[in-house]
């Protein structure tokens, strides 16, 4: 779309690393071939995904405008950039930032790109990426050439590849770390980038590095490979190494990564990662993307067999000098401060708001006289002007020591403490002085329905509303709120895919749909008691869905109850465990009610949207009366059963939990069959057979994006019904049952939109 697109290549020759320049020439040629119809849609889609160029909502050229679903008549139609994805439709550009490390020049370039190709906003993600939205595909080569000129590549930011390699943003300056993992994460990122052994995955692959076990800053337990710095005495010498975990991941059903090796030496880090990648590429699922992540392969093979295969693979790897060459860089790696250390002198002349900000956004470094400063970004968003001002401040106060956090913020490291008031004044001038980093008001949210094709509810709208209310109610939430509440984490995803990392929050929410009174109503499932610390040490479980518009009330209810009922300084997780899930659910029961449309239509629109809510732009449902009431009742009963399965799980009755979860799925399937008035045998086998025929084979149950995945959960549960269960498998089954029931709700919604199906 930019008139200058044809000029940037010439302009930047000599400033781009030659290999990146060549890659972008190739991509531009592939775009030209696509326009000539010489590249298949699917191949081009994966090609652009591997360049970080992602689809956005409505890129199929249809959008529900509040009254009807309308075509978006783009000029280049019917040219596409992937299956059912129009060429002209705005897309998202993801830019991977290995270990979250940025310098001032890169901030300035990101600012320019946000202004010229996007909507003046750079969005920080939970995996230390930067995203630009509403980008035209024709602008992508120029955009990426400008990135290449400052040594950033978007290669393999999306697609079935090794995604951004993340690391603790405090690495090297943290008081509690074993050693600085920065150079190791960097070496791993660039070793695996474009490596032939990482090009044939069935799904994405995520790696994270942490300097310690206890904190949350890198969340290694939610990754395909998670690496924690450890040391060991070997022959009287302290050797650096890594505790390695594999097979973690959030997504629809979360898995905790399991211990793989207690001590991986520095020399073995890269070859072992490579060997794991090779086993994943060779044996990982390729056809069914719903079971293609490494976590499924590890469970399928069992950890011991997986280890055996990896070791076998490692033994036959051709040696590569890069496995150890990087250790020279490690030895020389040192981040230097701009200024000598100093002590903060608090004076009456400190800028207004400084003390409040310092309490939540400033942390002392391991190195005396220095502090790290968190720049809290609302919903991960920063403007181009702010990026430039931050670049200026980083040049003034620190060297190129800026990091992205997994909480969608930025960190400046090596601030000489006496400079803190001046830095704060600069941030204030840039409107980047928001206090409350790491508090309940610092909410994480994925893009959700704003721009994501998978979004069900408006995660950003809800998060924005919560932030505004925290600020309004208390003036300063960070100051006035009780310490116990202030420290809680809220994370919101727009759907079950967990990009907002809702499983590892004290209060997690993910978007779901409910059909009420003949209308689709946006809701959020509430998850309580996830553990953020210990690298994402435990996952919360859903206790029930509340209408989106009642989310703020739900948060107040939960935090208020915690504040009133907390005993002896117990943690929120301990509180939830003590009062029990049944009590937690009861606490929110009255908030699950949705008033009739004519009484309060606001419940039927989502936050920050004026259109009547639909799922997948499908329009208002017309089901009502006798046919609707029984299925709504039946699906509610299924949810209760799935919840009761959780209670069994909490009691340690894994077999009971699995049985109840499975039964809830059977009942969900039966509810749909009864709604459709098809004859079937009233036994689990009969229900499953007819469900398969009527809903799976016809694809009526298929979610537009998850396909038949949730039905497959039901089939697998039926097949394994009565099998022995442990805590992990029962937990998983409960999660899957909840998702299957969500699938039933969605399917019912689609049926309502097409009354002939009911």
């Amino acid at each position: 779309m930019k008139a200058s697109n044809s000029l940037w290549r010439e302009q930047l020759i000599g400033r781009m690393p030659p290999h990146l320049a060549k890659e972008l020439d190739i991509f531009e040629n592939e775009m030209a071939l696509k326009k000539q119809g010489k590249i298949d849609d699917k191949i081009f889609a994966e090609t652009r995904l591997r360049r970080g160029s992602y689809g956005q909502r409505y890129d199929n050229g249809e959008r529900y405008d509040g009254h009807e679903t309308r075509k978006l008549p783009y000029p280049a139609s019917p040219l596409t950039k992937g299956p059912n994805t129009l060429w002209d439709a705005p897309g998202m550009q993801r830019i991977k930032i290995p270990f979250g490390g940025l310098n001032a020049e890169q901030l300035e370039t990101l600012a320019e790109l946000a202004e010229e190709y996007s909507d003046n906003i750079a969005h920080i993600t939970t995996r230390q990426d930067v995203q630009l939205h509403f980008v035209h595909i024709e602008d992508v080569p120029s955009l990426q050439r400008r990135l290449a000129a400052v040594n950033i590549t978007a290669r393999e930011a999306c697609g079935n590849t090794v995604r951004n390699v993340t690391a603790c943003p405090y690495a090297g300056v943290c008081q509690g770390e074993t050693f600085d993992v920065t150079p190791y994460s960097k070496a791993t990122a660039y070793y695996l980038l474009g490596h032939p052994d990482t090009q044939n995955f069935g799904r994405k692959f995520k790696i994270a590095f942490s300097g310690c076990r206890d904190s949350a800053c890198a969340l290694v337990r939610i990754h395909d490979i998670g690496v924690i710095a450890v040391t060991r005495e070997v022959d009287g010498r302290t050797r650096r190494g890594f505790e390695m975990y594999v097979g973690g991941g959030l997504g629809t059903v979360p898995y905790q990564a399991k211990p793989f090796e207690e001590f991986v030496t520095e020399e073995e880090l890269l070859p072992l990662c490579q060997a794991i990648c090779r086993v994943f590429a060779r044996l990982g699922e390729k056809k069914n993307r719903n079971t293609a992540r490494l976590k499924f392969l590890v469970v399928k093979l069992g950890m011991e067999e997986f280890k055996r295969l990896v070791r076998e693979e490692r033994a036959i790897l051709q040696p590569d000098a890069r496995w150890t060459n990087y250790l020279e860089d490690v030895a020389q790696y040192e981040e230097k401060p701009l200024k000598p250390p100093s002590l903060l002198q608090i004076s009456a002349a400190a800028p207004e708001g400084f003390e409040q900000w310092r309490k939540t956004n400033v942390y002392p470094q391991r190195q005396p006289g220095y502090a790290m400063v968190t720049v809290a970004l609302p919903l991960g968003d920063i403007t181009a002007d702010q990026l430039r001002k931050l670049a200026d401040l980083s040049r003034q106060f620190v060297k190129d020591t800026i990091r992205i956090t997994v909480e969608q913020n930025l960190v400046l490291r090596w601030v000489s403490e006496a400079d803190l008031p001046a830095l704060f004044a600069g941030l204030k001038q840039a409107r980047l002085d928001q206090p409350g980093a790491g508090t309940i008001a610092d909410i994480v949210a994925c893009p959700g329905t704003d721009t994501c094709k998978l979004g069900i509810s408006s995660s950003r709208g809800a998060a924005g509303e919560l932030r505004a209310r925290f600020a309004q109610r208390n003036g300063s939430p960070h100051e006035a709120m009780d310490e116990a509440i202030r420290g809680l984490r809220i994370k919101i995803s727009g759907c079950f895919n967990s990009c907002g990392q809702h499983h590892v929050a004290d209060l997690g929410f993910y978007g779901v749909n409910r059909n009420k009174n003949g209308y689709a109503v946006p809701h959020f499932q509430v998850l309580l008691g996830g553990q953020w610390t210990e690298n994402g040490g435990a996952y919360g479980l859903a206790i029930g869905a509340v209408p989106s518009k009642r989310l703020p009330e739900a948060v107040d209810r939960i935090t208020g109850r915690f504040l009133a009922g907390r005993q002896n300084g117990e943690s929120f997780q301990a509180f939830v465990r003590r009062i029990g899930k049944a009590e937690c659910k009861a606490m929110l029961d009255d908030l699950t009610q949705v008033p009739p449309h004519d009484v309060d239509p606001s419940f039927y629109t989502d936050w920050a949207d004026a259109r009547e809510y639909t799922l997948g732009d499908m329009g208002i449902g017309e089901c009502a009366g006798e046919i609707v009431a029984p299925i709504e009742f039946a699906l509610t009963a299924c949810e209760r059963e799935a919840f009761e399965a959780q209670l069994q799980l909490d009691k340690g009755d894994f077999a009971g939990a699995a049985r109840m979860a499975y039964e809830s799925m059977v009942h969900g399937a039966r509810a749909l069959l009864e709604c459709r008035v098809v004859p079937f045998e009233q036994t689990p086998d009969g229900i499953l057979d007819q469900f398969r025929t009527s809903f799976y084979d016809t694809q009526l149950f298929f979610d537009p994006f998850a396909g038949g995945k949730f039905a497959q959960y039901f089939f697998a549960a039926h097949e394994q019904s009565g099998a022995p269960q442990d805590a992990d498998s029962a937990h998983r089954l409960v999660e899957e049952a909840q998702l299957f029931i969500e699938g039933c709700h969605s399917c019912y919604g689609r049926m309502c939109a097409q009354p002939a199906l009911v």
Binding site: I121, F134, T451, A610
Partner: protein, 190 residues
């Protein structure tokens, strides 16, 4: 010089009322999409009210975006031309300005803002949103100044106007324009 990607921000008159809620722009922009009220293909609405001095509420289009913009802490209606456009520099400047002005007038009439939001056609800034085509230099300004003078001379008439340009190489090419009189001349050209 090929003048493309012209952005025009027309500022709100005086300080906006303290209780003016930009959330009102969300239903307004959705209605504009429903009613196809602009010449561009309108796609969606993005809410950035949470970002201080940010894009405010944005109406995303294919050829251009419209936003109730808060950049530099000054409320205004920003028209951001994204698509290439045939025409002389003066014509492209005129198109962007009049698209912005039409959106201002439409917003002023919307029930959410009626009587509470007024834009000043005599106070605006023009940004060329392409650093390569129009680097923010004195040379660019010298090349474009005749087109600016011709267009704004016709727009503001005899009362005259002042330009403000500062050549910061990091910024996009940007010119502030302030009419000396009260607004647009009767003989305002298209």
């Amino acid at each position: 010089m090929n003048l493309q990607h012209v952005n025009v921000k027309i500022f709100a008159e005086g300080p906006a009322p303290a209780d003016l809620d930009l959330a009102g722009a969300i239903p307004v922009f959705h209605r504009w999409i429903q009613g196809n009220v602009c010449e561009e293909l309108l796609i969606d609405v993005a809410d950035y009210r949470h970002v201080p001095a940010g894009p405010g509420v944005l109406l995303v289009g294919h050829e251009a975006n419209y936003s109730l913009d808060l950049a530099s802490d000054r409320l205004g209606l920003l028209y951001n031309r994204k698509a290439w456009r045939e025409g002389s520099p003066r014509e492209n400047l005129s198109q962007a300005f009049h698209a912005a002005l039409a959106a201002c007038r439409r917003l002023e009439e919307e029930p959410e803002f009626q009587g509470r939001l007024k834009f000043s056609a005599g106070d605006c800034e023009v940004i060329i949103n392409d650093r390569l085509l129009a680097p923010n230099t004195g040379a660019t300004w010298q090349a474009l100044k005749p087109a600016f003078e011709e267009f704004f001379g016709g727009l503001y008439g005899l009362a005259g106007f002042t330009f403000e340009h500062s050549p910061d190489p990091r910024e996009r090419f940007r010119v502030g324009v302030k009419a000396n009189g009260s607004g647009i001349s009767e003989r305002s050209p298209n």
